[in-house]
């Protein structure tokens, strides 16, 4: 059997021989034998270090909490993908790939925090002072401030404030938490002044702040956050595979299915005849001239 690497690369992450698999210098099997947890191993993977007990507890807390979020874009994508009955990994991958600039924008929040913390350092300001500057800059520009508000949990994400508290309890705070709390305070003060309702911290604001405090880079934090959701996406996809109907369009179900034809609302161009090939050039030229199609072009 050919056991050559799939691609040739120099890597600082791991090596694998016939005798052992080594991650950042540690034999993986020895790590497991010693009783370390999976969360410990994630610190080794992304930071090349064994974490403190409290750091491990914080990551356990956050990942266990973030794993399931019921119907969000990720679970919906996994279920919809499974509706076509591909192999299960396709549905799981689809769930994870929904994480972008709106759903769990973890990396962007991390980059924002790092940028402003660096500015605080260079300008001789505290994270708290820089939090106010950050909010003012974003709000003055009419831009949303990441980490606040959630479309479903309109009274605040129930996981977010407990995560902040656990962060304080286990890690004793830190520059990221100080910055994030200042962002929340300034943001909502301005909202109140402007006669708007306050927006509570969401799981990006709370969870990503904790991951940053734990030493994970923005991308590593994002990977951890979105992959852990993959577990529940798999569960939802398997439920559809084992208990649901493929296609999700059957008219025999008592409940109208997600892809039932009645779910379609078409408000595009009214039905129109297809021009014969002999009329095509003239027809196409007129369409270009009129430009009406631009209203619909995407």
């Amino acid at each position: 059997m050919n056991r050559d690497p799939v691609i040739q690369r120099k890597t600082q992450i791991s090596y694998k021989t016939e005798e052992k698999t080594v991650l950042r210098g540690y034999n993986l099997s020895d790590l497991a034998e010693e009783g370390y947890t999976f969360c410990d191993a994630l610190f080794v993977l992304y930071q090349s270090r064994i974490p403190t007990e409290n750091e491990e507890k914080m990551l356990e807390y956050e990942m266990a909490e973030f794993l399931e979020h019921s119907m969000s874009p990720s679970a919906a994508a996994a279920i919809c993908t499974m509706g076509g009955r591909p192999q299960l990994p396709a549905a799981v991958a689809a769930g994870i790939m929904t994480f972008g600039s709106a759903h769990g924008p973890g990396a962007a929040h991390g980059y924002m925090m790092n940028k402003y913390l660096e500015r605080a350092r260079v300008e001789g300001k505290s994270p708290k002072e820089m939090g106010k500057i950050l909010v003012d800059e974003y709000m003055d520009a009419g831009r949303p401030v990441m980490g606040l508000g959630q479309p479903q949990h309109i009274h605040g994400d129930p996981r977010a404030v407990p995560t902040h508290k656990k962060h304080q309890e286990l890690l004793g705070g830190g520059v990221y938490l100080e910055l994030q709390l200042a962002i929340e305070e300034t943001f909502n003060s301005r909202r109140v002044q402007e006669g708007k309702r306050t927006l509570a911290v969401n799981m990006i604001g709370a969870g990503n702040t904790a991951l940053a405090e734990l030493g994970f880079s923005p991308n590593a934090a994002w990977a951890i956050g979105c992959i852990v959701r993959g577990f529940s996406c798999a569960c939802h996809a398997i439920e559809n595979m084992k208990r649901g109907r493929a296609w999700m369009a059957s008219t025999e179900e008592k409940m109208i299915q997600m892809l039932d034809l009645s779910m379609i609302v078409y408000d595009g161009i009214p039905d129109r005849p297809v021009p014969a090939q002999g009329e095509r050039e003239e027809y196409a030229r007129k369409e270009l001239e009129k430009g009406e199609y631009k209203r619909w072009a995407l």
Binding site: L42, V92, A94, R159, F231
Partner: protein, 314 residues
Amino acid sequence: MGAIEREPFKWHSTVSYKIIDKIVTRGYDTTELVEKGYGLADVIFINFQARIPLVKETKMLNYLMILCLEDGLSTPAGLSRFVAKGHTFVTQSVGASILAFGNAYGAFQAYGRMLDKYLSRAGKEGKSLDEMAEILVKENNGSPTLGVSNLMLKDPAAKRVFARAESLDVAGKYIDFQKRIVKAAQKASKEPVDLDMLGAIGATMFDLGFSPESTWAIIAITRSFGCGAHAIEEEEREPRVLFGAALTPKANYEGTPDRPVPPLKDRNKIVRPATSKTLEEWKKNFEEMKKLKGSGFTLVEEIEDPRKLPKVKK
């Protein structure tokens, strides 16, 4: 046709729900779970099996997940790195890594279904597990899903999994059966073979109560955490690849020699249609196409014979 009154669409789930103020999986408020000290592996049990695991089960799952976190520059890491070369979101890279799991690499679903099939047959046919293990090995000779291979002859990690499962007292019928399969495979093979990671991790996951499908997904996802680091390292250390940049040397090309493109007006004189009018012609075309690599004609997926399937009552 008259309109039929039907309930509007709603998401139905036995896995979880959320309302404005809480998220609930299998009846447990997720924040309450973590506040009371339950961890990642515990919640995986709850999510997939709707039960709080014993502490020893959580320990075993953590053990397995650590082993699956990294596998060097294998296919998932390769895929993850390839996607990262396009300067994509890290979510795309890790998602791609999961797609590497199929019916050969990390074939936990296929492996689990095979074990269930032969365990069931042992009961129905009144055969001992040792006899059934021998039948399994004989009928699946050369399969990548035996859980036995020459991959772990020098690395003790696979055998340590079973030893740990036994010391934690979580080993059950699957580990027992897999050990018999190993013995049967060793007896049948001229080359040295032993328990591999598919067999060690798969059998232990099934003894922990996870289904073949759940196991497949959980292990693939676990591996993708490692692939996140590979994607990030690729971005940090390797150049990006632009559309159209990668060349394929002609020395690597083994296809039809260079040839002129025929004038469009002549195509009906030159081109041979694929349509077969007789079965003999069809067979001949089929065999001819097998010589064209990349056409897919040499690949055959096993389709179940409906005559051999149990009848489903309507």
